[in-house]
Amino acid sequence: MELLSTRQAFGETLYEIMKKDERVFALTADLGESLKMGKIMEEFPERFLDTGVAEANMAGVAAGLALGSFVPVAGSFAVFLTRAFDHIRLQICQNNLHVIIVGSHGGVSNAPDGGSAHALEDIAYMRALPNMTILNPSDYNETKKALAAAIEYPGPVYFRLYREPTAQIVSSDAEFIIGKANVLKEGKDISLVASGPQAAEAIVAAEDLIKDGIDAEILALPTIKPLDEKTILTSARKTGRVVTLEDHSINGGLGSAVAEVLAENNVGRLYRLGLRQFGESGNYQDLIKKVGIDSGAISRAARDLVKGR
């Protein structure tokens, strides 16, 4: 299977959208090439702005463009958006403006660059913001649809992308609805709930678990906020056991969001997989294995839960 990155899908789709929709305005803070905006820079110089290495200003300028009736799509590496948080909070979220903030190279997907380049907190702080919607598509095809949906969605959107090319799991004709989880596989013994490219890891884990007679259900959550509580609860009530998997800190991301829903409804047993430490340099596959967010980690956690450990 061909591996493709979600950032590639983003650049291609944004270019296609900007050809047709003159409201859309692309911004970056000196990472246009990394976010695959090359053709946009060349063909739409008026609706493209490079703010230089200045993420806070980029977010504020995007808010102003939204007030001026454009639909700004402002991207940097997710890890650098921490310094734009103040502007995102007040000028985008409290003003409640339709700005799409793009955080690329999410999680440890910028693996060889090492711990300083890994974005492990973005979903946690974006989740805490009123009005914010968080999209974290699973693969290339889903990113294309999610971006088109975000352009038409009112209010602020945080859109997470990944550097590493990963497996395709969503078919190109699947419907994408913001706020809706995808049941990738039905099962009765345990629910594997994943977001971003980790959904592909959950599929591999489910294939491994079936060897032990464990029938796993797989939910992919391309929308983290608002959370599809109904689908999560239906699945958890059926299986009684949930493992969450994400390329993010164990605190504040998908796992925390699912924990809140399960606890408030007194449903199921839960194990969260995510990072408990800062990352380090390495090959992407080796690194996700070492930090425990690969298919092997999910298989082990699922077996333990099923055995009641």
């Binding site: 702005l49 808010a63 007030l67």
Partner: protein, 282 residues
């Protein structure tokens, strides 16, 4: 409405603007006295420039249509001067002056710092410093692309110049040739921890810094309408954003607040309220 504002400006002279500013200071003073908190220092130092913008025929606006697509924008980046903005917007007809009597109360439109959507005419939320100029750049770029002729005015404080993101914005505006962007710096020389000269001695020379980044620069007495009005009305240098450094006095008009280190914010007592009213009516 544009015509009405323009004709108002022609009728206005400095004495009339001074009288309007006096009424607005009294209105803001009463609001801050009643609620027992607020930031009189900047509320009074910015009031004359705000009066000139809204009542001196500078800003193009229509209180009957706050969302009028062709309006100019005024953004208060130093949001703690909110009572000045509320007084001006009320006087301009965006809402009743009684809104100021609810300042800082639960459910009020007149929030402690401006909150977009809470009152008509409040364009953006502000309070965390160093954000307004960035938003102004986005609005000015949008107006430039639409060739709408709109102007974008952003008020900043001098303490706000210490924020790093302010300089990200200062650096960017000339790249876009935004000659529809005007920022006013309310240089009252004071901040929370004392005189700006002491907190950040290297902030000056401020004009040279903006000039070095490619801005057109004017320096004026921010309490003299004969300097404020021409600074706004003179044709802006083509292709350059404009900064107007308004030298002002913290707490302008109230004897015990003027240049006082303790009047960034605070509660106004009954005696102080009487004294302040007397000072302002002089």
């Amino acid at each position: 409405m544009i015509k009405k504002q323009m004709s108002m400006s022609q009728a206005n002279n400095s004495q009339e603007l001074t009288q309007i500013a006096r009424e607005l200071r009294l209105l803001a003073l009463r609001a801050m006295y009643q609620c027992g908190s607020g930031h009189p220092g900047s509320t009074f130092s910015t009031m004359d420039v705000l009066t000139a913008l809204y009542f001196g025929g500078i800003l193009k606006y229509d209180p009957a249509q706050p969302d009028w697509q062709e309006r100019d924008y005024f953004l208060l980046s130093n949001g703690h001067a909110a009572p000045a903005l509320y007084a001006v917007l009320a006087k301009a007809g965006y809402f009743a002056e009684t809104e100021l009597d609810k300042l800082r109360q639960l459910g009020a439109g007149a929030q402690g710092h401006p909150h977009r959507g809470a009152l008509p005419g409040v364009e953006i939320s502000s309070g965390s410093l160093g954000q307004g100029l960035s938003v102004g750049i986005g609005l000015a770029r949008a107006a430039q692309l639409k060739k709408s002729g709109q102007k974008i005015y952003v008020m900043q404080s001098d303490g706000e110049q210490e924020e790093g993101s302010t300089w990200e914005a200062v650096m960017l505006a000339p790249k876009l040739g935004l000659d529809n962007l005007i920022t006013i710096i309310d240089k009252n020389g004071m901040q929370i921890d004392g005189a700006t000269k002491q907190v950040m001695p290297s902030l000056d020379p401020l004009a040279d810094k903006y000039r070095a980044f490619g801005w057109a620069v004017k320096e004026i007495d921010g309490h003299n309408f004969d300097e404020i009005i021409p600074a706004f009305k003179e044709v802006q240098e083509e292709g350059k954003p404009l900064v107007i450094i308004a030298n002002t006095v913290r707490g302008k008009g109230v004897s015990f607040m003027e240049n006082s280190p303790s009047w960034h914010a605070g509660k106004i007592t009954d005696e102080q309220y009487e004294q302040a009213k007397k000072d302002l009516m002089k």
